[in-house]
Point group: C2
Chain length 113, copies 2
């Protein structure tokens, strides 16, 4: 089965972040077989961000598909990221991501529990 | 932790397909918490393909990141696919994917078991 993923949910100030981001859910619960909590492509417009937040019951990896930005990991150290970077955390840890470019930044987010 | 994912394993004639594809593994077993068997970005050069094959013990979804191609699902019907298309199968089903363009096709592959 082929599904188009143009549709998205617009979310503003996510986790205390800046701007409005697009959440394109790629797979539904049944298609993930209970193994993964979420698999989504997220578009952050210029200068948008996802605020620093903790994952207590699960953990989430961000994979940078395009654009440039700043990833803040559990040690609160901010690092520049580019396409091809996999930004990982473990259960219980915190993270944030911001787009520091003038174009959109696209990422893949996977939440495991 | 941030990992670069430029490195890849080159695989030729995958599942009876054409050409040599790049397998960029995004997460290792521990980082997937035993929930997912594989999460990879795969690059298919012009006219390369992954041959028709069955998943008996797991199932795999292909998400088209860029390029154009043809996805063949479990019913053996070939369908054109473009960026943003999520190509899904269930456990026990078969699939194939070919790049029909003159540029590279990039996909994300996730194997669940």
């Amino acid at each position: 089965m082929i599904r188009k993923t143009d549709e998205f949910v617009a979310r503003t100030n996510v986790r205390g972040g800046v701007g409005t981001i697009e959440m394109h859910n790629l797979l539904n619960e049944g298609e993930l077989g209970g193994k993964v909590k979420m698999l989504a492509r997220i578009v952050l417009p210029a200068y948008a961000s996802i605020g620093y937040h903790q994952h207590t019951e699960d953990w989430e990896h961000y994979y940078i598909l395009s654009g440039t930005g700043v990833f803040t990991g559990p040690d609160e150290v901010a690092q520049d990221v580019v396409a091809g970077d996999m930004c990982m955390i473990k259960k219980g840890e915190s993270h944030a991501l911001s787009n520091d470019g003038e174009g959109p930044m696209e990422i893949l987010a996977i939440i495991l529990e």
